[in-house]
């Protein structure tokens, strides 16, 4: 049938009432945003002639998504998180800020409170037979290339099953396993000894992957290591690097991969000298260049709900 009523006066007046656009009180910005989102939703229903059953399927899906706690996962999957990064990049370009280690998404699995260590830390607290030894190290510099002392480098990543400590439903990981907070010395250097993370994805029968199935998309991410780098002088960096060689690197469901965030993985021997039990290990050098504040302020600070332990 495909009736067209969206542009009629009735529907347009109705939309203004829904958002209380012409009424007083409330939050003006919220009114505008709700008006736009509901308008676009109505238009989508009209353009695709969605049936009532289809609309209710969508509404029930929102309940499923919420009850499974997967809204943040879907936000990554439908590119919302990456779109925000694209906008921040464009903003930097407008401000003329160039260089620096590229930022990328934070993801939902950061936990505040990892014990701080000086220059070097061992992150693996639990055995993981399927994950080989991995050394990550680098130097934190400012835009001028000079080492930054007292930078706090926070690192977190998954185990070989794709689980993070504090979020491991098998209960096999102890607190802050594969998580660390390293304070750089005068040389700006940090070093962590850990185990290789795995590529992982959305819960296979969860709400996000269920929607992705309809798009014939997978919900997987390449193996990666998350970073926060915090200093007094520069903007806080939120980023991740991917493990070179992972076939998913340019096929990340969360679109977090960036040029400049795929450091080389080097096979090395002599693990005992750096502190491993094994002789053979992999080595990744990941140097970090921070960017200046804008008019004395960090214009990229993101406030969101985060876990703490």
């Amino acid at each position: 049938m495909g009736v067209k009523i969206f542009n009629g006066k009735d529907v347009q007046d109705f939309l203004r009432v829904i958002a209380n656009l012409d009424g007083t009180g409330g939050n003006e910005r919220a009114k505008q945003v709700v008006h736009r989102i509901v308008s676009d939703l109505f238009k989508t229903i009209e353009d695709f002639d969605l049936t009532p059953d289809e609309v209710w399927l969508g509404i029930n899906y929102l309940n499923k998504l919420g009850s499974e706690g997967e809204a943040a996962l879907l936000a990554a999957g439908i590119g919302l998180e990456h779109y925000i990064d694209m906008r921040l990049d464009a903003e930097d370009a407008e401000l003329g800020i160039t260089g620096g280690t590229p930022r990328t998404i934070e993801g939902p699995l950061y936990v505040a409170g990892a014990p701080e260590q000086k220059s070097k830390a061992r992150l693996d607290k639990n055995p993981d037979a399927d994950a080989g030894p991995l050394r990550i190290h680098g130097i934190v510099t400012g835009p001028d290339g000079a080492p930054v002392a007292d930078a706090l480098v926070e690192v977190w990543h998954s185990d070989s099953k794709g689980f993070y400590s504090h979020f491991d439903p098998t209960g096999r990981q102890s607190e802050f396993n594969l998580r660390g907070a390293i304070r750089t010395g005068a040389d700006g250097r940090y070093e962590v000894l850990t185990r290789m993370p795995a590529s992982y994805g959305c819960p296979p029968s969860g709400a996000t992957q269920t929607l992705l199935n309809q798009l014939n998309r997978h919900g997987n991410r390449p193996a990666h290591v998350h970073f926060f780098v915090t200093t007094d002088a520069f903007r806080k960096l939120t980023t991740q690097f991917n493990i070179e060689g992972d076939p998913l690197i340019w096929d990340d469901f969360a679109f977090a991969t960036r040029e400049g965030l795929i450091p080389h993985v080097v096979e090395r021997t002599g693990g005992a000298a750096v502190g491993f039990e094994e002789d053979a290990y992999r080595d990744i050098e990941f140097n970090i260049e921070l960017t200046p504040k804008v008019a004395g302020k960090d214009n990229q600070i993101v406030e969101r709900a985060r876990a703490a332990a």
């Binding site: 504090h166 439903p169 590529s199 994805g201 969860g206 199935n213 998309r217 997987n220 076939p247 340019w250």
Partner: protein, 426 residues
Amino acid sequence: MPEDASLRQPPTSARPARWHDVLCVLPHRDGDLARLDELAAADAPVVTVIGKYNHGKSRLLNELMRRDAFAVADRRQTIQLAECRHAGVRWLDAPGLDADVAGEDDRHAFRAVWLASDIRLFVHAAREGELDAAERALVETLRADSHRTRRETLIVVTQADQMEDDDALGRVVSAIADQVPGAGLYVVSSTRHRRGLEDAKTLLIQRSGIPELERALADALARVPAARAHEARLLLGEIRAELETVRNAEAETLASLRQQQMAQRHAFDDGLETLLAVIGGDMEEVVSRAGPDLALVADTGRERYATTAAKLERARIQVAYSRACIRLDGFLAGHGVSGLPQEQQTAAGSLNTVMVAVMGVSVKFRADLRRMFCEEAGRARLQAAFAHYFELSRSRAALRDRVAEASAALDATDRALAALPADAAP
């Protein structure tokens, strides 16, 4: 109080240590068990005098004992159970059986009438005329008990001397006889008996009715040993039969719960095995596509927003895997398995599922799917892991609790049966 008279408060409930196991199962048999204790003690026979206050109970006892062992007054008396020994008999004066008797008195009365007594003298004053409703009800109960336990009840019409004349007395006695047909009825006067003794007047003693009552009592007392043996057998037999009935019901409950437990597990195991075999077959097709496994071929940065054959292949594999998981999830939900046990739950709600805990979230490539679904060992691993969480599910745990409860109840009843003596010996 004469020196050989003992006033004591005997226990009013069964001996806990001896009967603990039986009482656990049959708490309502407390009275019968206490009676068994009395029988096992094999003490002298007990004659209990029952009746409303001021109907001459204590005076009758004093005459039967030939001494003033029990206090007599015209106000309500005999609040506490008193026991005296005389002529190889224990005499009990029960608290007055009246509408206002409650609390402590009731307990004493219960003990006197039901636990301790071998013979009851039900006392009713002639001047009151017929038995009232409460008295009739009690007499009926006592006579029913006599029939069951062979404990005898003698009905004694007292204070015969207070009636105007013999006609008036005769009318009352005949009316009472009509109320309780077939009962032994004795008419006495304690006053005449006392005077007869004091003045040595044999005729007055005869006319008091006490000698006739004493003869009837002596006959009844001679029957007490046989009655006691009968009662002990009766009570033990009843209790044993009730325990066996309880035991049979409990054994049946336990067997049916265990059957349910096994049937649930079999349904789960069989259903899962069948589903895994079906998924294994489907997955075989998914992973055996000819040609190189493009999913393992990395794309380039230039292709980040492009559709490539490798991306399509990764999507194909993952969507097939996801669909298999959704089918498994549906099966698990049907068997009450979905959320993780409390202690395994994490801050991320999306990960708190049995599916995630068992399957992990690591990326599955063809080799992984083949190992998990297409090989016997992989399916066996999944079968065992899901069965583990099946047993941890709420409904399984609840059923396990019910089995444990039923098993404990059966054990308790077995202990009770073992604690029950073959006969009434102490």
